[in-house]
Symmetry: C2
Subunit: 349 residues, 2 copies
Amino acid sequence: MKRINSTEIAKLAGVSRSTVSRVINNYPNVPEATRERVMQIIKENHYYPQLSGKMLTGQKSRTLGLFWVTNSTSIANDTLSSRYFMSIVDEAASKNYLVLAMIVRNLYDPENIQFVRRIFSEGRIDAGIFVGVDLNTPVINDLLDAGEILGMFDYTDPAHHPNLVAVNFEKNSGEKLIDYLYDLGHRKIAIINGNMARLSCIHRNESFLQGMQKHGLPIRNEWLAYAGITKAGGYNATKQLLQDSAGDLPTVICANNDWAAYGVYQALYEANISIGDRISVVGIDGHPHNELAYPGLTSVEFNFKEMFTILVDRVTDLIETGQTGQNEYYLDGRLVIRNSCKKLTELPQ
Amino acid sequence: MKRINSTEIAKLAGVSRSTVSRVINNYPNVPEATRERVMQIIKENHYYPQLSGKMLTGQKSRTLGLFWVTNSTSIANDTLSSRYFMSIVDEAASKNYLVLAMIVRNLYDPENIQFVRRIFSEGRIDAGIFVGVDLNTPVINDLLDAGEILGMFDYTDPAHHPNLVAVNFEKNSGEKLIDYLYDLGHRKIAIINGNMARLSCIHRNESFLQGMQKHGLPIRNEWLAYAGITKAGGYNATKQLLQDSAGDLPTVICANNDWAAYGVYQALYEANISIGDRISVVGIDGHPHNELAYPGLTSVEFNFKEMFTILVDRVTDLIETGQTGQNEYYLDGRLVIRNSCKKLTELPQ
DNA sequence: CTGAAAGCGCTTACAG
DNA sequence: CTGAAAGCGCTTACAG
């Protein structure tokens, strides 16, 4: 496809390429009459400067790379944050940025790493937004060391690279839930952790344990499980848990995340244990399905749209000003009470 | 960010830039020893040629623009096809293409049109994939006339532009459903159409009517509604329909699409009409929720992943070879029977 | 087999 | 106010 270029526009408008460029880039030193004449020709010919030409003169691509790290084959069904894809594209658009969307299966695999580095090095993007990254992933540090600008969702950087910004979940969601459950009279509390390579999962776990300690509740080994952030993980962990503690079941199972909580639901259904009545369940995240589930899932819920909006805004700040006010944000969650937890009228033991 | 360029690589390897370029682009006329030495330097320095430089010499960007046309604010919840976003990115990646994802609210709005034209003209993308476009949208023709390569989902081009490829739904889904319902004994059939500006909706409507005619069933005005492809549309249409035909309700409501069918469900719930038992419901599309709905929704279902895979493949064919075997594909749907339709033991009237 | 040179489409000092 | 020229990072005939 041969496209019209600035030389032809210049010819048509009877000016030089310099002037065409000045008009396009809104330089002040162009008389109104000239500007209008040139603009007219530009409009008529649907002329937009080629990005490659502009970039070679040092302009930015105004493109954000969105790296979705997941080994799932169906992003729409399996990662909650993918539902907020549109928030990212919309917020970027409002700042006049485009989004190059990529899926990365394994950030430890050499080919995948090379792919990511290539995208940055080719100059396709001004910054990268990463979702689903384990803590201390080497390529992230390499990119930062190479001077790239990175926006991370649920991540912390011990080295405090100045061009990293992270938007994270509050640290104390677990404790919020334990407090609530304690008030309901629960004392026999089981905890299903998520993927402990993720910042949020570590915090949630610590916070659960802290809540237990605060209320003087013992943490029993057979009531402490490690699943993933998937439904299957929660399902398997619960089956194991029910088996291991058959003689002395907990009165509540705290899932580290809503997806795992749905797995807990499934295992309880199958074991014919009434959710809420016999074993209460809680989650964390704020999955849109929480409301539709039966019974509705009590969860500490986050405003993902807001989180991604902040992330995009701070990343574009970094691109444009080289600095951001704050490098790590921790956003508050809100305890949303539904029907998955019942009050214990008589305290066990 | 200052990146290493081919001049520096050339210097480090003791060759000219030409040779560096030959190595990178796998030219045959480079001795193995030279090739290895240069590759070594390239690897060590994580060098990848700048895209802008390459493009200026006529290379392609190897990027597909994905234009999701929707006025919804939540793509993940509201457009079924957005769930298959990952299929597009994955299939593109397998062909070594990237995906620039964009959301377009209104393809008739001058600003939006300008945006779309800019993306193409800037040379950011080699082709555009459009989802959610009304038939005869002017900008689509303009792009085709300008020589752009377009991949359309659910669209037909009367002008048969050679560089358009479309992947569509089969035309006869409506008739399939009517046949099935007729066999169950249904004679009083209501039809809720979707957005009649869309190819699939037109075909489904025609096919419903054809099925009715084939079986000699009358099409009653009060049982024929026009909704959109949203839950709200189906809901409102059903409420109206129940009101207008209170004295003589249909025994089945055919929704043009699954989203609308969920709206039908809601309206029937609210009216305390048992789905299946008193009024059967069918949809078309194959929404993942169909199985989870209560009762499960009988629907003609499509393999969206396959459809998008074909679309991406044909578009990359067009980019690379300038031709595609076929310009419009119509993919078969499969009648999936669940519990939303009951057999009528005694035929009404 | 390999380097010097031209050229892609821009922007931006520079000179006037 | 405006044009000619340099330069960004590549690739590709061209010449040797």
